[in-house]
Symmetry: C2
Subunit: 301 residues, 2 copies
């Protein structure tokens, strides 16, 4: 499976509708147009009408009155967030996408008690990587959402990642809670959490996956490294999902894969009623497209 396959998979799904908050931004419109060209879905664009039309026009006359694009004027970014979220709430849209707006502003609407998209679950970030010379997807969570998750929150973060993996065909993902060591060290909380998550999985408190941790990154992804350490595990060397101990680990691992290992990546926020796509300006156009494809697949689960 490659991320390009994922675009194909997303295309096969009945057309989904993506609501974009504050779409008046060159890079957002570029991603929208690219997604339209790949027939990934219909778009509801909320924001400054004039600017959005101008940007669409700059991409080509055909996008100004495209049957898959609807432009809705909003006087403020807050209003665009509210209306985009409401579109999802009323089931007029299946995916929410952040445009040129602070994530916190968008999340305020997402978490609104009247019209928001709360489920009671933790919102978390799951990234899926296609790494050169690597034969399968590697999921990393949470690299971008929860700053200091508690154990309870880590369980939900793990569950969210499992649901993302299952939505794109990894039926029973192997999950490695990462630490700096694969043995339990009482002074390293990540190693304790790894052990606890593993046992919660054995007791049926975490389902639809196989958890075994703590593992080092080496023995999580390399069978040779796992063998060298004599680790007996269904997960070691074969991990699909890497649960990182802190946002610093997740963020720096994410960037190391992109900047040093030449990996491709898509990502989605799960835990709300629908997938949320939060791309950043630094993401490549390709990566934004992968994130949209992932969200479309995930919304179908």
């Amino acid at each position: 499976m490659t991320l390009n396959n994922l675009i194909g998979k997303a295309k096969e799904i009945n057309k989904k509708t993506i609501a974009v908050a504050a779409a008046e931004d060159h890079e957002v419109i570029e991603a929208v147009v690219q997604a339209i060209n790949h027939k990934l879905g219909n778009f509801l664009l909320y924001g400054d009408r004039e600017k959005m039309l101008e940007l669409l026009h700059s991409m080509g006359e055909e996008y100004v009155k495209h049957e898959d694009i609807k432009v809705i004027h909003c006087n403020s970014k807050e209003k665009s967030a509210e209306l985009a979220v409401k579109a999802v709430h009323s089931q007029d849209a299946d995916v929410l996408m952040k445009g040129n707006i602070q994530t916190s502003t968008l999340l305020k609407s997402v978490l609104n008690k009247e019209y928001g998209l709360r489920t009671g679950r933790v919102l978390s970030h799951t990234a899926v990587f296609e790494i050169p010379n690597y034969d399968r997807f590697i999921f990393v969570t949470d690299a971008g959402m929860n700053i200091s998750p508690t154990l309870e929150q880590k369980v939900e973060i793990l569950n969210n990642a499992v649901s993302v993996a299952r939505s794109i065909g990894v039926e029973t993902p192997k999950v490695a809670p990462l630490a700096a060591v694969e043995t339990i060290n009482p002074s390293m909380s990540a190693s304790l959490e790894g052990a606890v998550l593993t046992q919660m999985n054995r007791r049926g408190q975490i389902k639809n996956c196989i958890v075994d941790g703590p593992l080092g990154l080496d023995n999580a992804v390399s069978l040779a490294a796992a063998k060298l350490k004599g680790i007996e595990s269904e997960v070691a060397g074969m991990a699909d999902i890497l649960v990182v101990p802190s946002i610093e680990v997740g963020n720096i691992l994410y960037k190391s894969l992109v900047y040093f290992a030449g990996a491709k990546v898509g990502a989605v926020i799960s835990g709300a009623k629908v997938p949320i796509v939060v791309t950043s300006r630094a993401d490549s156009a390709e990566s934004k497209l992968y994130s949209l494809a992932l969200a479309v697949c995930y919304s179908e689960k």
Copy 2:
């Protein structure tokens, strides 16, 4: 500069002596023989005499009575650690190397008040990476020694890495304290520490380098990413030394570079009277050689 260049640089230095504690191990002897072949130094091998000679013999008859190898029998691993450390203490050796012995057992001798190698400074791990398609060395600290360093300890960890970088020709290293964000976020201690370390450098409390943090990994190593975020900094995009916020970040970044990015690496422990080489079984033979070369250069500083 490549790690192979570093071997050349180490060769040019007047022959150093490396004391190895518990050398009775196939992989350790292999590394010793490789270093001998590259004329990196003389070796004092402490451990089980018979086993060491047998292993040397298995590598070739010429290594059994090699002029650059001296074999000293010890009845226990503890004794081999003690004698190896004493050899350094009495200036018969310039570098200490861990053989088939627990790191904690070796460090007990290193920290011995009578004959040990204490300097009062924090011992820390500095790794130097040669990354494909990357034009300079990247140093990462601390990926393997200090579990939860305090701010004071981070300052010393940083200073140790600066001294390692300077010993191999990076005269005024650019130092990036890493965090998940490049802005200060009061709820992310790594970002606060980054700011504090930067200001300590401006006030002259951290010398011989330029510190600027917090930085994300992307804007620390990529000029394009730094520009995109509009970061004005002498370090951003040009960092030589990455100071990581926790051992988990260091360890996982280290392994990500080796396993996913195909990087080559050497590492050394600094902060004692001489460099200490602590390789692990999972390190490649090449990596062990690089670590020895790095330690030889560093012992010359």
